[in-house]
Symmetry: C2
């Protein structure tokens, strides 16, 4: 189906993207804008053009979900995330739960068993104690559910108006699983793209909870720990598992672009195979947003060699959190570094990383 | 000198403090106030009354500078801190340098060699790029100086006005040093209290940099990595080293109170032996603040058994950052859990933890 020639229009678009991408990213902006935090091109320019070079850090340059460290001969993974979601609570979750699951999931998709978390709170003067209690309980419950201990913490308070109630930073320590041989640069033509379930719920739920739109749809955040799903896939796919990502900021589209780029391969996605809940489809259509770019907080993308794909899919589906898992695409040779979407009508378009993001502050 | 009987006035004060302390701390406030972030009694109530019980975490309940974790049979230390200092830059340092050194030092005084850091930035929309570049450079320089790699990072952007330029959260991973057998509960009567150098510079420098006071004094922050000093003390004092703390939020007074309380011993400090730079003394006198409560970012308190105290002092003094190290007091039996200060005039007073703090947002 995807063997037809690339059209002239496509070739033009691809050449343009290729030209832009081949430039070394340089951070040239005079100021920070919301786009720098949205997970798209501006975020990448900031990381690749300023942060990673300054710290001379390969781990940061790789834009991986977690960095690896060796201590005493043991392979460890470390990951950190600040959560600034607004509003603090939304259908299906809240900032505390998100802060635990988001960090646990970054470890999990790096092939590391989550072991411990640290928790740093920035609280706004005047924050009602009941809100803090609620979030502390949410953090404790999520940590218990994910099987991680909170081993260190910090609390700072800033004056009224200098924070949105609370910002939460969690850092996760994981033990690299000996079954995991993962690298975003290891994708091979013929590999299958698996998605653990329906997409777009988290970002849509947060957006609707802001009340900026005259929209009311029954959408709940999908925030949860992905470690059980990762554990199952590691067992089932064995060495044919190439890479995993949780599709948070920037959504599935961004994750696929990062993988295609890191491996110098093309990824072709069959749009009709991507599960999207009807309420998400509806809300996104009204708002003019593609669900492929909307954040998820409990969905992973796994790339598996053809030999292990069926077993990995079966393993995901045997788990409640992967009941609707699907193979949504595959890896091709051409055009390298690009993600193409095959629409239900047989059309094909390039799905690039967004320049900005229609949904800031969703995590 | 300290053998005279406790006066009636002292007995009354001690009995009052004892009564308050014997109560289980309960977090009963309706709202968060600046005092909850200042490192004194309100901070402790928040941690001991709400956070530690919720997370059922022994590491948090111990109020240690770092939590310990075992992974694959290796002893690791984890610590985290959010930095919200205002202004971002001050004489002697800036938020970026502080964020590296503060976390490195929490590992160091826990007896762990700093190995890796994670870095999470919350940036304010509109932050000038030059400020970000300056802080990124400061972070990179401080990390290089401290010998740690930055292995993972995150960046979020919040709308204009929802943050003070930038908040920085660093988390440190350390490898527990086999020479270290440290515990805040291990102090014994007769132990010596060592201080690695003059106190009060950091908090005073930040306070003056705010420009709220008509004061201009040549005070620079003492921010730096303490690992070289810790390394030297671990070597010199061997098993007679009981505990170390870096005297940040709440200053030397708060650190000594935590140690006295954890060990159920008294600590007596000779005020005249505590080195305070003249400019700090002057500024603190005008502002009515005791330098013992002012934050330091490059000073440690070490408690050493009598057999190792001379060697530990010599080791500190042989190092540039400990050139003015001093023995400033010792551990006694009575009154348990209390810190007493012997003034230059032969008087004696209780030095308790502060209820609030005159210096918020200093780290």
């Amino acid at each position: 189906m995807l063997e037809r020639a690339v059209s002239e229009r496509e070739q033009h678009a691809l050449a343009m993207i290729e030209r832009v991408r081949s430039r070394k990213p340089q951070f040239r902006d005079a100021q920070i804008t919301m786009a720098h935090g949205a997970g798209g091109k501006a975020s990448r320019t900031l990381v690749e053009g300023l942060l990673a070079p300054a710290f001379a850090s390969e781990a940061l340059a790789a834009l991986d979900d977690a960095g690896t460290v060796e201590a005493g001969g043991v392979g460890l993974a470390l990951t950190t995330d600040s959560f600034v979601v607004s509003p603090l609570a939304f259908p299906g979750g809240s900032i505390g739960e998100l802060a635990v699951n988001g960090t646990v999931n970054d470890l999990a998709v790096s092939g590391a068993r989550p072991v411990a978390l640290t928790l740093s709170l920035i609280l706004e003067e005047g924050l009602p104690a009941e809100v803090l209690r609620r979030e502390v309980d949410a953090i404790a419950r999520a940590a218990t559910a994910a099987g991680v201990d909170i081993v260190a913490g910090d609390t700072k308070v800033v004056e009224r108006g200098h924070c949105d109630g609370m910002y939460v930073t969690t850092t996760g320590l994981g033990h690299v699983d000996p079954r995991a041989r993962l690298s975003p640069g290891s994708l091979q033509p013929g590999d299958r793209i698996l998605l653990s379930g329906p997409i777009g719920a988290h970002g849509t739920a947060v957006m609707l909870a802001r009340g900026e739109f005259e929209l009311d749809a029954p959408v709940e955040s999908d925030t949860r720990s992905l470690w059980p799903a990762v554990d199952a896939v590691l067992d089932a796919a064995g060495p044919s598992l190439r890479a995993m990502r949780d599709a948070t900021r920037g959504g599935v589209a961004t994750v696929l672009n990062e993988l295609a780029r890191a491996s110098g391969v093309a990824i072709v996605v069959r749009e009709a195979a991507v599960p999207v809940p009807p309420a998400v489809t509806g809300a996104c259509e009204i708002l003019g947003i593609d669900p492929m770019y909307v954040a998820n907080e409990g969905k992973l993308v796994a790339v598996v060699g053809p030999g292990g794909a069926d077993a990995a899919l079966a393993a995901l589906r045997s788990h409640p959190l992967g009941a609707e898992a699907a193979v949504v695409g595959e890896v091709r040779t051409e055009p390298p570094g690009m993600v193409l979407v095959e629409t239900a009508f047989g059309g094909r378009r390039v799905m690039d990383v967004l320049v900005g993001d229609p949904l800031p502050r969703i995590c």
